[in-house]
């Protein structure tokens, strides 16, 4: 929890916010993952790479939250 700084108006601006664009853009770049190989545990690239984007999303939102609170 932030304690409001009386001298400065509060804001949600922070350079860390740019990090949020990574998980927004990655899953929309179909050329990165629209392929069968290489397979991982039997999963085509299309599936395992997109599932791993979930982890990217979690990491990025967690970093932004920690750095800006």
């Amino acid at each position: 929890m932030t304690t409001p700084d009386p001298g400065r108006p509060r804001s949600d601006r922070s350079p860390w916010n740019w990090l949020l664009f990574v998980p927004i853009l990655l899953p929309l770049l179909t050329f990165l993952y629209n392929s069968d190989g290489p397979r991982l545990l039997g999963f085509p690239l299309f599936y395992w790479l997109q599932i791993s984007f979930i982890v990217v999303g979690v990491i990025c939102t967690t970093i932004v939250y920690r750095m800006t609170r």
Binding site: L20, T30, N34, G42, V56, V58, V64, Y65
Partner: protein, 536 residues
Amino acid sequence: MSGHTTELVVFALLFLLVSAMGFVAARWRRPESIESLHEWGLGGRNFGTWITWFLVGGDLYTAYTFVAVPALVFGAGAMGFFALPYTVVVYPLVFLVLARMWSVSHVHGFVTPADFVRARFGSPTLALAVAITGLVATMPYIALQLVGIEAVLQAMGISGHLPIVIAFAILAAYTYQSGLRAPALIAFVKDTLIYVVILAAVIYIPAKLGGWGSIFDAAKAKFDATPAPGDGILLNPANQVQYITLAFGSALALFLYPHSLTGVLASRNRGVIKRNMSALPAYSLLLGLIALLGYMAIAAGTKPVIGENGKPISNTIVPVLFDQMFPDWFAGLAYAAIGIGALVPAAIMSIAAANLFTRNIYREYLNKDATDAQEAKVSKLVSLVVKVGAVLCILVLDPQFSIDLQLIGGVIILQTLPAVALGLYTRWFHKGGLIAGWALGLAAGMWMLYLIPNPATGKTHFGGSAFALSNLGFDTKMTVYAGFLSLAVNLAVAALATLAFRAFKVADGEDATAREDYFADEGDPKVKELDLSAPH
């Protein structure tokens, strides 16, 4: 039918247990009075990280999603997997937006998106447009939850509508009694069941089917053999843009639905929301795995239940797969997970719809001096009416009608984005510009949906959301999500009309919010002072 006895017994027992919980919920974290709308509709606005996670997760990832997404993957392959990028993109996208919405709502006592628009743009007309759009988009969504329960019942060999009527009567009774507390408490059971079932499914079923590799190979073989050009375990040049725009457009739309906001506003502070944006993707993982049940069904040779009209009911694919693969008692558990999974969102959606009606139509136009107790009473009644309406939708109309309406709902709810979401960031748009953008965006969206056929079901209109660019005269097979294009129309019109209104010096509405309202947090004197959740 006798083969389903164990499944039925397990299903019925769990369903009863959950119903009992729904009634007890009125006493859980109870304030001194549940008679004010804030208490009933927003649970007292003091839910912490865990409850919010269960509540919002239970709200966004509905029973219908759990049966429809794998059914789509079963039928079309990779295209159905759009649900995964959609739910990855959505949380970073709304991370800052929802925190602002929480703050401004808590400073001013907003319960619905239309409340915010009313105060921000000083326009009751724009607020009415946003409220009606929200109501129209939410209603078919509630009806679809019934389609989810029905799919489970059909897989157990039960036809007829009586069980659904009973299930919804129970649901209506306990939301009436307990408000938002009921779905919050039930969401614990629902999610625990769903996680257990899906983890079991993704370990047990592939082991029985010879591993993930052979599941994907079986799916590929099936799609290669079909004449349809759009399917396959990978995307093709024609549907890649549709995949991206559908994922992104759906992500933009998700938190515009009034029911998603209800769960968010019930959280205790901004931190709870932000932590949830990191924690909710756990459900996306679940959804990704659930989507792949569609391929498991292909590999297992699952056949959907044939409906009374002789056509296969594609939504029954997952329940039938469970019946085929799991021992009876576990299949019963899985069915209960889906059935209960329908109740949580249905409860929250009907509460959100009721709040919209009460605050933005009843109080604004019908009874301007409504007391808190009157509002809560109307809200409870409307929530009942909404659920009866949803049941009637399924009983009287073809369920396909609800599915079509929900498709339309996604496109029309996007038209509230400039006012609701961009409104949190900028007051640049003129209220008249926003109304014009909303109207033309709606018209464009409906026109595009009307032109979309579905050769698979023989429908000539409203057959999907993939709008062929060839309709606009482009020489291409490419398709784009209709909601995305109609939002572009909306934004362009809103911007141009804003410039025009400014040029002609047409009066704009008053902004009742101040800049610092968007960053206020728990403990802020403004938040405390104006939060109406204290007992009256």
